[in-house]
Symmetry: C2
Subunit: 232 residues, 2 copies
DNA sequence: GCAATCGTTCGGCAGCCGCCGAAAGGAAAC
DNA sequence: GTTTCCTTTCGGCGGCTGCCGAACGATTGC
């Protein structure tokens, strides 16, 4: 049988508050330096080093040495999804009603954010819903891109056919949004969509966090392309 | 932000080998008594009690007191999926090549098993593939039941329309098989399919484990219904 | 070459946590 | 009522682990 110790040691990687905070920070899909993570989690650099070792040994993170810096990031989309799944479970449970302070601190994240490499939050859900209403996405039972949706990505959004050629990674996948409790578009198509939105300046990152903001240009684009008028 | 401590405490529930073994055992979807789990994980009954408390408090398990017995089981399909996802990640990593002994001990489980409430293992993957070839299931990009597939469930397999009326639970969902590294059918349809197979005597449980065996009747049924001739 | 910065290694400390056995509570069997 | 069985509570032990500071190594900049 699947050795219980293997499962336990994987879970143990996330069972520490500092390591969990590191992984949540890395959910933005970017590479952080060891020092940045140490400061972010408020532990000594030496402590951060130990945690990063464990996370890398466990296969959750990959590293890239560059000069005197050590960059780490999530080792792949599947890891990001695992963490999101766990976080979704936590948020779904209506335990310990958060104080007002935490709620307002959350509001930017709730409005819009990136989830590893695709759009999430209210913005991500709104885009997904609009695509479904427009017949680009089929959510009955599963979560699949329609032929019209595929054409929309290439013809309207300007993606090249290679961009949306499905490889090992599924083209369209639902990702449960822990703030909205609804599915939003993930998978290869979700990543490319997010890439396009950022590249076109339709959304911009708020500071260095995962939170994103819709620009006036983005608002216009959503209205023209998807008939979305009242986002946010 | 999602509090890292919440994520950590959820992961901590599975970060202990004994608790992990309990959850893996409970993946069969059935209810176990506290004593059974204690014996299965080889710890003192008092130790098992503590673990069960934590798992129940954490919302992973639910309990049902019945006379002097205390039955526990996974609190729902979403918990089962979370555990399967974690287990899948463990198995995908080609670390520590298992010895021959463990491999043969695994063979029954690899051939066929239940995964919470649906079929998994080679059998589950074979059925899923056959359904896809027959046009009952659409795996391009997502994982959805076709209209033909829906009709097949009701007309050929004899399910009532209410059985496959999608509620909150998705009708068809892919579940990554950790032994076969392929998707198999989960979700409501997967559960009903498994129920039917067990009810018709097409598959039977091996002992009290999660492993299942295809009966001669089942073999014939698979050949007639799905054109599957060489299962196993 | 020297200084500054980033990361790592090493010891040591404190706290948590999983384990057990003994004793007690409760429900069923007789 | 008594016995038996399943489960729980409690105390205590041992080990693991996360934390830090100090010293060291490595890289960049001056």
């Amino acid at each position: 049988m699947t050795s219980a110790s293997d499962l336990a040691s994987l879970a143990a990687l996330l069972a520490d508050e500092t390591r969990a905070a590191m992984c949540l920070a890395l959910l933005d899909g970017r590479a952080w330096t060891a020092g940045e993570l140490a400061a972010h989690t408020r532990v000594a650099p030496s402590t951060a080093t130990e945690h990063l070792h464990r996370l890398i040994d466990g296969g959750l993170l990959v590293e890239r040495r560059q000069g005197r810096h050590r960059y780490v990031q999530l080792s792949g989309a599947s890891v990001a999804q695992l963490i999101e799944d766990l976080a979704a479970r936590v948020e779904r449970r209506p335990t310990s009603p958060r104080g007002l302070r935490a709620v307002t601190a959350n509001s930017a994240l709730r409005r819009g954010r990136t989830c590893y490499d695709h759009l999430a939050g209210r913005l991500g859900v709104a885009v997904t819903d609009a695509m479904t209403r427009a017949g680009l996405l089929d959510q009955t039972g599963g979560f699949a891109l329609t032929t019209a949706g595929l054409a929309w990505l290439t013809d309207t959004l300007g993606l090249s056919p290679e961009d949306v050629r499905t490889s090992k990674r599924p083209l369209a996948r639902g990702c449960l949004d822990w703030t909205e409790r609804q599915q939003h578009l993930a998978g290869l198509a979700g990543a490319k969509l997010c890439e396009t939105f950022l590249g076109n300046g339709w959304v911009v990152r708020i500071g260095t966090s995962r939170a994103v903001k819709l620009t006036p240009n983005g608002k216009a684009a959503l209205r023209d392309l998807l008939g979305l008028s009242d986002v946010k």
